[in-house]
């Protein structure tokens, strides 16, 4: 503990106010000055010397918005809005007093009332007609609202296993519906994911495992590929630089051959590239 405190004093700028978010291992690594080069995994020195360092991706639970493909975070509702069941009598609200208005608004309403209003807002954008709540688009829209609300709840209380399972099932049901819609009505599917801001991506191979050894092998392959491309580009550049002096030397040599052959009275066997065209032009005229 004493060591960690000493770290905080030495690296007060680096750690700062985020001290609470760092783990003990991370703090110890900062203390040793190794936090940038080493992540706590054993790696061969030949690899680390060449800058091949594996950084393990942060584990995200399956219900996380980044995994389920939510591109939009839910915006807080206007609390002065009326509850959904009071909406038919909205014109009469001016006649009642302020306390009643507040009681019938979302300010003192339950969470489920907020959800109903959110669903209504989404349905207004996507439903086919005013009574539509069973078409595949409407169902996906309502499930999306439900997922985003449950995800907000999960961030507050991560140990609520019942809610977590419920959320995961809802996400899976929506993914199934999205795949079905894509197969049957591709254009509508594209319109819907654009409206609801959902990222639709394929599910990874369930047998695939994330391991240090395999990841390092892939990184070495990428490093080799980059190195190959870089060296080929350098070699090409060097050849391009040699091109001009070589052509100049070639022209001079050819001209010397032409002149020597002309002086000896022998038929000319070669032609100088630049001068040949001029001669042919003059002959043509």
């Amino acid at each position: 503990m004493g060591r960690i405190l000493a770290v905080n004093m030495r690296n007060s700028v680096a750690v700062g106010s985020n001290n609470g978010n760092l783990t003990r291992t991370q703090l110890l690594l900062i203390a040793d000055g190794r936090h940038e080069t080493r992540c706590g995994y054993a790696m061969k020195q030949e690899l680390t010397e060449n800058g091949i360092i594996w950084r393990r991706p942060e584990h995200l639970p399956a219900w996380h918005p980044k995994k389920s493909g939510e591109l939009k975070t839910p915006t807080p509702l206007d609390l002065t809005r009326l509850r959904k069941d009071v909406l038919p009598a909205a014109s009469m609200m001016e006649e009642v007093n302020e306390v009643t208005q507040q009681l019938l608004s979302l300010k003192f309403a339950r969470s489920s009332e907020h959800s109903k209003v959110e669903k209504q807002d989404v349905l207004c954008q996507i439903r086919r007609h005013k009574y539509d709540c069973g078409s595949i688009e409407a169902r996906i829209g309502m499930l999306t609202v439900k997922i985003r609300r449950l995800q907000d709840k999960m961030f507050v209380c991560k140990k609520n296993a019942l809610e977590r399972v419920h959320l995961q099932e809802t996400i899976d049901r929506r993914n199934k519906l999205l795949r079905k819609l894509r197969n049957h009505d591709y254009k509508c599917f594209e319109w819907l994911i654009e409206k609801l801001e959902i990222l639709h991506r394929p599910f990874p191979d369930p047998t695939e495992r994330r391991s240090r050894k395999r990841s390092l092998r892939k990184l070495v392959q990428l490093y080799g590929k980059d190195l190959q491309e870089k060296r080929l580009a350098e070699y090409q550049e060097a050849l391009e630089k040699k091109k001009e002096p070589f052509l100049k030397e070639k022209t001079e040599t050819l001209r010397w051959i032409v002149e020597t052959e002309a002086s000896l009275g022998v038929p000319i066997s070669v032609s100088v590239p630049g001068e040949e065209t001029e001669e042919s032009d003059t002959q043509g005229r």
């Binding site: 594996w54 950084r55 393990r56 991706p57 942060e58 995994k67 591109l71 207004c124 954008q125 996507i126 439903r127 086919r128 007609h129 005013k130 009574y131 539509d132 595949i136 688009e137 894509r182 197969n183 049957h184 009505d185 591709y186 254009k187 509508c188 599917f189 594209e190 319109w191 819907l192 994911i193 654009e194 801001e197 959902i198 990222l199 639709h200 991506r201 394929p202 599910f203 990874p204 191979d205 695939e208 495992r209 994330r210 395999r214 990841s215 892939k218 990184l219």
Partner: protein, 166 residues
């Protein structure tokens, strides 16, 4: 004899996601006889078909034929014909567009009968819709092969925050 027969044979298959450029990966379903049970069971064969313009999307039904000479090590077939494009499903008898088990006209008529609600956008309009594939690479990544994220790449790297990685 068998080889020449296989080369002249045409296969109907479904395009699936892949990472090879200038080709389409086609999944062909074949039925194999189990001699003990005297029953046919499905088995799937995968082929890479030459598609230089990359017209085949994931889910399209295509007709492929084996090339007389392999184009590359992987590309062994060519796309003869695009049979059904994924998207606008058409009933072959009436020639009308279909959504699931209903005609588009029927759905439109029903929607008009009920009418839109207050402040409604009116749902998806098929006539004004852009051609298919306009969300490919933006929000729809079904053309990519999904994989588990295996490394945190630095910003600027092509694999940084790859949407196909989850």
């Amino acid at each position: 004899m068998a080889k020449s027969l296989a080369r002249s044979a045409l296969f109907v298959g479904k395009c699936i996601a892949h990472e090879l450029k200038g080709a389409a990966k086609v999944e062909v379903k074949l039925l194999e006889l189990d001699e003990n049970l005297h029953m046919y069971f499905p088995s799937f064969q995968h082929y890479f078909a030459d598609d230089p313009k990359e017209e085949c999307k994931t889910g399209d039904i295509v007709l492929i034929r084996e090339l007389p000479k392999k184009k590359t090590v992987l590309i062994t077939h060519s796309v003869e014909k695009m049979l059904y494009k994924l998207g606008d499903v058409t009933d072959p008898i009436t020639g009308k567009n279909v959504i699931m088990s209903k005609y588009r006209d029927q759905i439109k008529e029903r929607n008009e009968q009920f009418g839109p609600g207050e402040g409604d956008a009116g749902g998806f309009n098929y006539e004004e819709a852009p051609p298919r594939g306009w969300q490919e690479g933006k929000k729809d990544f079904s053309h990519r092969v999904g994989y588990k994220a295996w490394h945190v790449f630095e910003p600027g790297h092509p694999l940084h925050d790859d949407p196909a990685a989850s």
